[in-house]
Symmetry: C2
Subunit: 247 residues, 2 copies
DNA sequence: ACAAAAGTGTTTTTAATACACCCATGA
DNA sequence: TCATGGGTGTATTAAAAACACTTTTGT
């Protein structure tokens, strides 16, 4: 992949489930992969962005690097959520061949550390994505994927859903300025449920993690909504240290 | 360690933070390790139970195996919670020497998958523990540890605390029969806070995950408490699918 | 009879839910 | 003037929190 020679650790990799939100869909950034099928014909499918670790590289650094190469973004919300190490996760012929083609090594076993990232699609660099044959796929229309990447996405989604209910991270998927309704739609789409708009506003505004801007929407054929922005300081100041158990 | 030769994968290991609860303390099972200090003198410190993976072994299997070797227990609550892969996690001389001594290899870099386990100390096999020089240490009095094991314990504890508030797993740390007060003490010790006993009982009984037995405590110098047991079926039947966000 | 922990009920406060109409804008 | 989505308030219900005394046993 790289022109400059690298020394990789062929036993450990990172894979990133990069979430984005656009046109009211939760999306995942997937990379088109070219491989030789059983008849030796060139075909394509998709895979998660990921890479082997460089020798002496940190896991988090490898994930950050992967993310930056694809989106041009730094300082992104990035969270390790699981390790996948089934011996049979590299069992299909095409996967083995593809590894040989891209690394020049016979690789039979890789343990991968899975991360999920939350990014604002509008701020990501489209050139970087195109150059890497990356595209944003609706989480409900994921095509056939390499390795066990479908399972990685699924458990990544479950972790995102849980985190979204506990920490104010929805903002990471939106532009800096957003309307309350956009935030609500995001919650509804990611959690797959719907909320009463009055109660949703109340809850968000009570949590005091958001501040209203002077600016309104423009050019919309209805009453324009105010923009808000996430305010981490206010959130930290107001957050309740709750110890309560719910099961 | 083993008499029979094994083929290990020297890049990947598992480490288990095995939690137990006794005499009102949260405890962790630690193994005494012998090593040569910088003057070549034999000394000891402690480490987490863990091992390299066998070639073609599954991560979960390696953790289960480690657990069984030390406690004689099977079917234990076991949860992967993080991966530790800092390049400098094997940086101290004694750690490098110890690896060389025990594996016969020069190992500079290991990525470890960390698990936490919840066990009932009274059911665990003390012989197994003694044979492995293992002992139950108060989580608040952890001695100096090998590698980055202190950090692994710390984040394991944080994961346990979070899980305890969301899922009914406290029972895993208690004998089959337990009193409500024992359960409350466990919650208080693990979460480091205290609860009103009336409200605690109400909450536990309302959640319907526990059934009262006919049996009472015997030989206690106060009103004897009823024993209860955890009932997974009742729990599954009564649990509420809550989607609500708290932050 | 005393000490020690078990067990119990009610009131107050807070959070969650359910619900319907008017408002500002572009077309 | 109409269609569209934004924005608001109140009443009801459910859950959490605060709080103090009686009971049963062993010594």
């Amino acid at each position: 992949m790289n022109a400059t020679p690298r020394t990789i650790n062929p036993h450990i990799s990172v894979d990133c489930v990069i979430f984005g939100f656009s046109t009211n869909r939760l999306r995942v950034l997937l990379i088109e992969r070219e491989y030789l099928d059983e008849n030796g014909v060139r075909a394509t499918d998709h895979k998660l962005p990921g890479d082997f670790m460089d020798i002496d590289e940190d896991l988090d650094s490898a994930a950050t690097r992967t993310l930056e190469e694809l989106t041009g973004l730094r300082n992104i919300y990035l969270q390790q959520f699981a390790v996948f190490g089934q011996p049979d996760r590299i069992s299909r012929l095409v996967d083995m061949q593809w590894l040989k083609e891209t690394t020049g090594m016979e690789i039979r076993r890789v343990v991968t550390s899975a991360y999920y990232a939350l990014i604002n699609i509008t701020e990501s660099n489209e050139e970087f994505a195109l150059k890497n044959r990356a595209s944003w796929m609706d989480i409900h229309r994921i095509p056939a994927l390499a390795f066990d990447h479908a399972a990685i996405i699924q458990t990544g989604l479950e972790h995102l859903q849980k985190a979204l209910q506990i920490e104010p991270i929805g903002f990471e998927l939106l532009p800096e300025k957003f309307t309350i309704r956009e935030l609500q739609s995001l919650y509804e789409v990611v959690l797959g449920s719907s909320f009463d708009n009055r109660n949703f506003r109340k809850k968000i505004l009570k949590s005091a993690c958001v501040v209203q801007l002077d600016e309104k929407q423009r050019g919309v054929a209805h009453k324009p909504a105010f923009y808000y922005r996430f305010d981490r300081n206010r959130y930290e100041a107001h957050k309740k240290e709750y110890i309560s158990f719910n099961f």
